[in-house]
Amino acid sequence: MSAIQFQRVSKIYRRSHLGRTTETAGLIELDLDISRGEVFGLLGLNGSGKTTAIKLLMGLHLPTKGEVETLGRRAPNIEVLARIGYTPEAAYLNKTLTGRESLRLFAALSGIPRAEREKRVSDILRKVGLDKALDVRLADYSKGMLQRTSLAQALVHDPELIILDEPVTGLDPLAIKEVRALILWLKSKGKTVLFSSHDISEVERVCDRIGILSGGRLVKVMRQDEWRGKADALETAFAAAVARTDGVGPIRME
């Protein structure tokens, strides 16, 4: 059974400036099916369409063509959003609130009943190691603490599907290890996890399958048995599959 389905999805960004309209393809004809309980990694360079695909799932973007389904319903769907946890590439949180207030807000928005809310908030903040900073304003949190709060808001309502956009970018090695453990723990609980990353070594350690995006196209899908136990198999496949689309040439060692 599918947790996520992209059916020939294209996303074209149109920008108008001084009467001239330019079009950029964010995604082109994406066909992808992610099963429930699966950990799926989206790999790609900057501008390859990873974040666009995630924003389409969350209803922050609308497809130009094709259909996106999450948990069996056409996205965006308000009821389905209550069953999805999402962490963007950076902790986009309102810094005037404390950790507890922020989590209370997201718990309330996710429809957690008032009677349960306090317990859920305290539990999840303890789980992500922020129980000593519950009443500190987010403006005084470190980057790592903000990332944990961002993860906590994605998990506070115990979602079935967790979507993590670049969850390890900019984290220290210890924090990366913790995020890896978290993904594996979520998998052991039967959750579906979709995450995007540049980091091939992270992806190959936790994913059941990966998809490589290049220039908005899904150029390759690989199963774990295609890279497990084969040194550099994923990196080689990645390098062969992608092409730079950001106008940056290779470093020449001459």
Binding site: N94, R104, S110, G111
Partner: protein, 254 residues
């Protein structure tokens, strides 16, 4: 609908913590101090001068405050990307917009109430105490504030620039004081184009004549019907602006 109250609460908390009200309160104190000095010039008219200047200052500060806050209300959340996390939860965009608007209005009303309390206390020291009439004036000001807030919010979503929205809000605020004059000119105009333009502007701009508490100021008491009509007009104009703002907001991608 259940998500309006958490959005309202966090907006109110955010604005109170950002001390948005403090600058207007301090400004109000300064202006009231000025009124006190001016009132010393005319001994016989001291209370009347205090009353007029104080109310004018409260109204001006509240209007400036609500316009400044509402034009940046959504745009700053988009810029800081906090909106990503809010809208990736099961929140209807209309509920989000309404919660943000009401939270801002509540913060501005709180600031207005603080200034009014101080003003009323000073007036009572000068022997003026007519709470019914004073409250009626405050209701008119609150109506005007609600209308300008909704209009500024709509303009910010239509123009997607804080500066442009502020300039247009000022334009409509000026026009709103000349609605009857515009209709008068339209009646006498020979040009069909000018007539249509004037009538269109007189209907699009809020008609602030409905909130002119000075009309009853020196009469025995404000008519209840007049006041009720001011409230109905404020509600109708605000609802229309918010409905249009929701339409625009529903189309937006982040």
């Amino acid at each position: 609908m259940q998500t309006i109250s958490p959005v309202f609460a966090y907006t109110f908390k955010e604005l109170v913590r950002r001390k948005a009200w403090l600058s207007s309160a301090v400004f109000g104190l300064v202006l009231l101090g000025g009124a006190l000095i001016v009132s010393a010039l005319g001994q016989d008219e001291r209370a009347r001068l205090m009353l007029d200047l104080g109310l004018a200052a409260i109204e001006a500060i509240s209007l400036i405050g609500v316009v400044f806050l509402t034009v940046s209300l959504i745009l700053q959340e988009v810029e800081s990307r906090v909106i990503f996390l809010i809208l990736s939860h099961p929140v209807r965009r209309a509920d989000y917009l309404l919660g943000r608007y009401l939270g801002t209005l509540a913060a501005v009303t709180l600031s207005m109430a603080g200034m009014a309390l101080l003003h009323a206390a000073l007036l009572s020291l000068y022997g003026w105490w007519e709470p019914g009439r004073y409250l009626a004036a405050l209701v008119c000001m609150a109506g005007k504030t609600a209308v300008m807030g909704a209009l500024s919010l709509l303009l910010s979503l239509a123009l997607t620039s804080e500066a442009a929205a502020m300039a247009f809000a000022l334009f409509f605020w000026v026009l709103g004081h000349f609605s009857s004059e515009m209709r008068f000119l339209a009646d006498r105009s020979g040009s069909a184009f000018l007539k249509t333009t004037l009538i269109a502007f007189s209907h699009a701009a809020p008609d602030f004549a409905h909130f002119n508490y000075r009309d009853f100021w020196h009469a025995p008491a404000p008519a209840a019907g007049w006041l009720a009509w001011a409230v109905v007009y404020a509600l109708a104009y605000t609802t229309a602006c918010l409905a249009l703002a929701v339409q625009l907001f529903e189309q937006k991608e982040f």
